[in-house]
């Protein structure tokens, strides 16, 4: 088994997959804590479906670099969703559900009408569940991913205290002169970036799992914001590593294996939290 693993590690595409997987897992778990606590768990779901729709548009247009259209569209939708989220007249969850389902249907429709591929349902399945695309990453994609991940981590560390204040009590933060709107916007943009990155890894249906599971697991065991954040980052990276390695060894789908590892970690954390109390 070990020799098989070492053999696989010789291939650059396996190393790329590991690097990208770990970085995306790290970023999504950092943000996940805030998103879960702000009751934005579903924004990940909604945005990933928007990204799916954008991928459909990109493939219909035959763009070689899909990022060019997927990233701006998703960021734009993140900002729009956040706008309606803070507007009391249109319920945020309804807006997210609407955009999410709409984009999914629109994307499928587009692909169905314009697709030239003989294996349409296979294509769609791989966009939704990620399947093997993480193993076909190009060097540019890996570099882009590394660059964006580092940016996300630096921003998160620099604004950690502000993010805590805005998440814990937005009114108090605003009263203290913190521009809460700006931070919500920042969180939305970063979320959109991470989701677009993560689509390669787990596909658009399972992204929510990457965002939500580590945070919820950590919250079972730890009680302070800092320890929850650190624990969820560690858990997420570990599960991503384990998931990728297992999926290579046993030839299982990458995305689902990572999510299964996250779910297992959640069960362990629930048990730990239950024993602790």
């Amino acid at each position: 088994m070990m020799t098989k693993l070492i053999l696989y590690l010789q291939y650059p595409f396996v190393r790329y997959a590991l690097i990208v997987g770990v970085l995306i897992a790290l970023c999504s778990s950092l943000l996940g804590v805030t998103l879960v606590l702000k009751r934005f768990s579903y924004i990940g779901d909604g945005l990933s479906h928007v990204a799916f729709g954008a991928v459909a548009i990109a493939s219909v247009l035959n763009l070689t670099n899909q990022m060019l259209i997927v990233l701006p569209v998703t960021v734009l939708c993140a900002i729009l969703l956040l706008r309606t989220g803070s507007n009391a007249k249109i319920r945020g969850d309804a807006a997210i559900a609407m955009i999410s389902v709409g984009a999914l249907a629109f994307g499928y429709l587009l692909m169905n009408i314009f697709s030239t591929s003989s294996n349409l349902s296979g294509d769609i399945c791989s966009t939704l569940f990620g399947s093997t695309s993480i193993l076909t990453l190009t060097k540019t994609e890996v570099l882009l991913c590394i660059f964006l991940s580092i940016a996300v981590v630096i921003i998160f560390i620099l604004f950690y205290n502000r993010i805590f204040a805005v998440t814990f009590d937005e009114n108090f933060a605003r009263a203290a002169g913190i521009n809460a709107g700006l931070y919500n916007l920042m969180i939305a943009v970063i979320t959109a970036v991470i989701i677009v990155l993560a689509m390669n890894l787990v596909g658009s249906l399972l992204i929510s799992a990457l965002v939500i599971f580590p945070a919820l697991s950590a919250m079972r065991v730890f009680k302070s914001f800092r320890s929850v954040t650190i624990c969820s980052a560690v858990l997420s990276v570990f599960c991503a590593l384990a998931g990728i390695v297992l999926s290579i060894l046993f030839a299982t789908p990458v995305g689902s294996t990572i999510v299964a590892a996250d779910a297992a970690a959640f069960a362990v954390c629930c048990l730990a939290g239950w024993i602790k109390s």
Partner: protein
């Protein structure tokens, strides 16, 4: 010049005025109690004073060099916070953010200030504990310590004794009185008319009748006589 001057203020949401033409002043060292029935607009007044929402009409002027972010605020609790993983120290420290400007991290001075305020409110022993596992009275103290980190000049308290038992309520009020004696200006929303009349120097009554004046004036007014019955 007073710390806060409110003139011709109308409050409400979406251009529906809840309270119209409010006029009052708060001087340094005052203890103003805001009383009124449920839904009369007390919380809305607090939010408007904090510029969390726009006044429909009228003006709020801050004097004596008081800056908008020099107001400490104790909100009427929201349940979003109830399951939040956060330690007492983290929450109290977050009160220091307003004075931080664009500095990303807390300085040593901030940390000392947080420790000092936790000592003042007798919660230094539980500083590592999780907020959601504290009793209601302890939670209120934590939020009060956070407000004190934001400022030592003026505190806006929205029902600080809500949900507390009589003993803890009395402690809370004593604590606020001591802070007031040490020069902190207090604006407090309260349903507890006895406490309001016992501790406050000024009363603002909002609702069908609007009244503002000192406690003695209030007791002799129509609104006050009705309330005292």
């Amino acid at each position: 010049m007073p710390l806060i001057t409110v003139s011709g203020l109308s409050l409400g949401y979406d251009s529906n005025a809840i309270v119209k033409d409010l006029n009052f002043t708060v001087n340094e060292g005052d203890y103003l109690c805001v009383v009124g029935e449920n839904g009369s607009g007390k919380t809305t007044l607090m939010k408007t004073l904090l510029s969390l929402q726009e006044p429909l009409a009228g003006k709020i002027t801050a004097g004596e060099g008081l800056k908008k972010n020099e107001i400490g605020y104790l909100p009427q609790q929201t349940d979003v916070q109830r399951d939040f993983p956060a330690s007492v120290r983290e929450i109290v420290l977050s009160g220091c953010q307003g004075r931080n400007g664009s500095r990303p991290f807390y300085s040593k001075k901030d940390k000392e200030l947080a420790e000092e305020n936790m000592r003042l409110l007798g919660i230094e022993g539980i500083s590592g504990k999780c907020y959601r596992e504290l009793s209601g009275g302890q939670q209120q103290r934590v939020l009060l310590a956070r407000a004190l980190c934001a400022t030592r000049r003026i505190l806006l308290l929205d029902e600080p004794a809500a949900g507390l038992d009589p003993v803890v309520t009395a402690e809370m009020y004593d604590l606020i009185r001591d802070l007031n004696k040490n020069g902190v200006t207090v604006i407090m929303v309260s349903h507890d008319m006895d406490a309001a009349l016992k501790y406050a120097s000024h009363i603002l009554h909002i609702g069908d009748v609007i009244f503002f004046g000192t406690k003695d004036e209030y007791l002799n007014s129509d609104a006050g006589r009705w309330a005292a019955v």
